[in-house]
Symmetry: C2
Subunit: 485 residues, 2 copies
């Protein structure tokens, strides 16, 4: 009998949108890193480094950041409420964690984290989040406009799926952008309409650039439906000024664009002269409800909490018609609900302990320690990059990344071409092979043609920064001398 290979699913037969989509943050460099890690586990000492260190992803707890105690106490009590009946519990948990857990449990369907919730999320938790938003912005929030999701990514998918009908529908995206947007636009079959952030202007957003891109898209038959703004910026770290935000909102209003405000780094601002202002606040202080449609995305994965693995987040809709909200709710209901641990954490990050509550002191010190350390790490890495030959790095005002520009020698660009690689991916691969450090090439985020970047998180443990900086510098010097023109 001959051996006939008849797989039911040849790769040629799959959805081309799936084939075309790319996600650089866990792309080729990351896959190579995983192979190296396996190799190191089998043959320790086979490489000039002991471990692979993943700076490709904003994943703080993977790199040793501890979760906020209060948040985890509440979560543990909600998962195993039998603890609430025990005398020992008061020795192990703070009184406000206990009372918060009781309050949360009372709002859950069946008083259990194990029941499907309302498809928008538990109503009581949405109310707590609405309170937190109102406190942040000085304007009320409606719990019915809040949809809890398994991380912000799920919310972005839902909105793009709603807006995109075909490749003739465009979404304005910053370049560089977080590649969830390019991947999701590809998967949903739309067209990414790029607008470039100005590196020289600390990655600022220029409205004339936006207008030009919008004109270009329309001349090419693309109906632009929405505009993505990431503030604070990923991978660029800029924090938008209030006047810049006002210009953006006004442009979206005039042009009838839905503003997709990725605000997942709202708690990550490191410079004294900038602060996070929500787009909701900008809109509420100058516009009527029906003048502009905006979606604000928030996540439990970032900030000082970094609860990535718990997959929590929400989107708040502003200025959407009831019939459209009904459609979003219907799609949410097909997947029943987001996970309740993530829902609980979303309610907690928007309502952390207040002064006077038992946990507040510890909470405040944990939060401040993380944020001030992140600020110091951002500065140390920024200085290190700026001290390297041919590298320039803008200030990280916020978020969790640096996006240094690397002036690659022509010989390196030629060597990359020979290896059939994009030059900055060639650089990142060489860096990985030499040091075990996983960075993401700028080409995965987009960049002005002819410029090359890498993205690193600012998450290395503070004690490790000096060693990492010297590895980075040593590699860079050797790379530049190998390929000097």
């Amino acid at each position: 009998m001959s051996f006939i290979k008849t797989p039911a699913v040849p790769v040629e037969s799959i959805n081309p949108k799936v084939k075309d989509c790319e996600y650089a943050v866990r792309g080729e460099i990351f896959n190579h890193a995983q192979r190296l890690q396996e190799e190191l586990e089998k043959n320790p000492g086979s490489r000039p480094f002991d471990e692979i260190i993943y700076y490709n992803l904003g994943n703080p707890q993977a790199l040793g950041q501890k979760p906020i105690t209060f948040f985890r106490q509440v979560l543990a009590l909600c998962e195993y409420p039998a603890l609430l009946d025990s005398d020992e519990t008061h020795k192990l948990f703070s009184s406000d964690a206990i009372s918060r857990a009781k309050k949360i449990l009372s709002t859950l369907t069946g008083k259990s984290t194990g029941a499907y919730s309302h498809s928008k999320g538990v109503k009581g938790l949405r109310e707590m989040i609405a309170d937190g938003i109102a406190l942040r912005d000085g304007y009320p929030a409606n719990p019915e406009d809040i949809f809890l999701t398994d991380g912000a990514s799920a919310a972005v998918h839902m909105i793009l799926q709603l807006l995109i009908r075909s490749e003739n529908d465009g979404i304005l995206c910053p370049i560089p952008q977080y590649p969830l947007y390019s991947a999701a636009i590809t998967l949903h079959g739309g067209t990414l309409v790029p607008y470039y952030l100005s590196e020289a202007n600390n990655w600022g957003l220029e409205v004339f650039e936006l207008k030009g891109r919008l004109d270009w898209a329309r001349e090419n038959g693309i109906s632009v439906k929405a505009m993505v703004v990431i503030n604070p910026g990923n991978p660029t770290g800029q924090v938008l000024s209030e006047s810049n935000q006002q210009e953006i909102v006004e442009l979206c209003r005039k042009e009838g664009l839905v503003l997709l405000a990725d605000e997942v780094y709202q708690d990550n601002v490191y410079v004294k002269d900038k602060k996070f202002i929500s787009f909701k606040r900008i809109i509420r202080s100058g516009y009527r409800e029906d003048e502009i449609s905006m979606v604000s995305f928030q996540s439990i994965s970032k900030g000082y909490y970094g609860e990535c693995g718990k997959r929590g987040g929400y989107m708040e809709l502003c200025g959407f018609r009831e019939d459209v909200k009904d459609q979003i709710y219907k799609v949410a209901s097909v997947n029943l609900c987001s996970n309740t641990s993530g829902q609980i954490l979303a309610s907690l990050i928007m309502n952390p302990p207040k002064p006077g509550e038992e946990s507040h002191k510890l909470f405040f010190s944990e939060k401040e320690a993380i944020l001030s350390s992140l600020g110091r790490r951002a500065k140390a890495l920024e200085d290190a990059f700026n001290s390297m030959e041919g590298v320039s790095c803008q200030k990280a005002e916020g978020a969790m990344y640096l996006f240094p520009r690397i002036k690659l020698p022509n010989k390196a660009i030629e060597a990359a071409k020979k290896a059939s690689m994009v030059p900055d991916a060639f650089y990142a691969l060489r860096l990985l092979d030499a040091t075990g450090l996983v960075l993401v090439p700028g080409s995965g985020f987009g960049q002005v043609p002819g410029t090359w970047h890498v993205r690193t998180t600012i998450l290395p443990d503070e004690s490790k920064i000096p060693a990492i900086v010297s590895r980075l510098k040593a590699f860079h010097e050797s790379f530049m001398s190998e390929f000097q023109d």
Copy 2:
């Protein structure tokens, strides 16, 4: 100044696939129930019942089912590992919950549930699941073929997104079906190719029916990519026989169809003469790896565990080529990972406490109490439906539902037409208005034209069954006499 309404998103402009998709389980009847519930909260006593009881959805913990103690102990320890360092912990947690939590924590990225995991799920947890599958089937499972997801629904979406290119790609689905499939096929732009289960044959699956439908689809230019089988059945409750499963596998092999095996009710079998056999086992015992492609879906939401709100599940791929698996992994990576609590629970349901471990006795008694009670409830409701005029109800061999057929009088069908309603939705709405019981009309699942059904879960608390049965019967009698021909 005139008030001009210029919403950026008129509903006419959204993705028509979103508009077209329907999900009956949380559809119109459910929305009406929620309005009634709000009304009852504002005006107690305004209706002939005190509360709305949701039997539209397999959501056991919403109806009072308690979670399995061992599972929640492990989860609480993983969420707040500081407990592991405390002397009090041994008073509150069983020793095997403590050791299991330690083992799980050691496998997590950064030893924390708060880190993003591998995009397929934590490798150590996939290994535990593979062990559980191997024990179930007697054939090994490869952790690299297991993808952990936020509930089985997310896995179904991933596979349909992979397979469907356009409306010319078809997916064979049982009728009646769980409406996730119809909703997801619509959202992904494919065509549902129905095959009818045989109600007279206790909702059995007949291969000649399948072949006929396949021929019909191909004559109409539809390329049928995959076949969905739900075993045990939802909403129908049948458990397939081994010989029937073999016929299905052979058909899929011959026709080059991917077998999508929805096996989320694998722990829910209530009759002595039937047992659950996985399609993996059928395939492994008769076919080469490359002869057939199959995906098995499992969920933490069903079984005796019912951990719906935690959103955990997995799919196991069999007979997929590496290049296709790489594509699935890439799409998984765009969303980073599924939630870690759900991942942990998936590892636990596939590896519950074993005899001799401290928790086993309690675990076993909790599990048996739930399953035997579900069996009794299924029988009591089945008998009740069969005692009603014009109603016939097949035996629930497994799963969590009954799907009784109701012979509606012509006058009721005419009244429904006048109200612009499908007749079984009219019946379900009248039932809801009279009793507060939320059932789902059969039309939401599909049924042979001219037949009418409703789906109910078997989840009412056992003590409430007699009262529910008398409400159902009283309503049915009054409905039948109101509309008698």
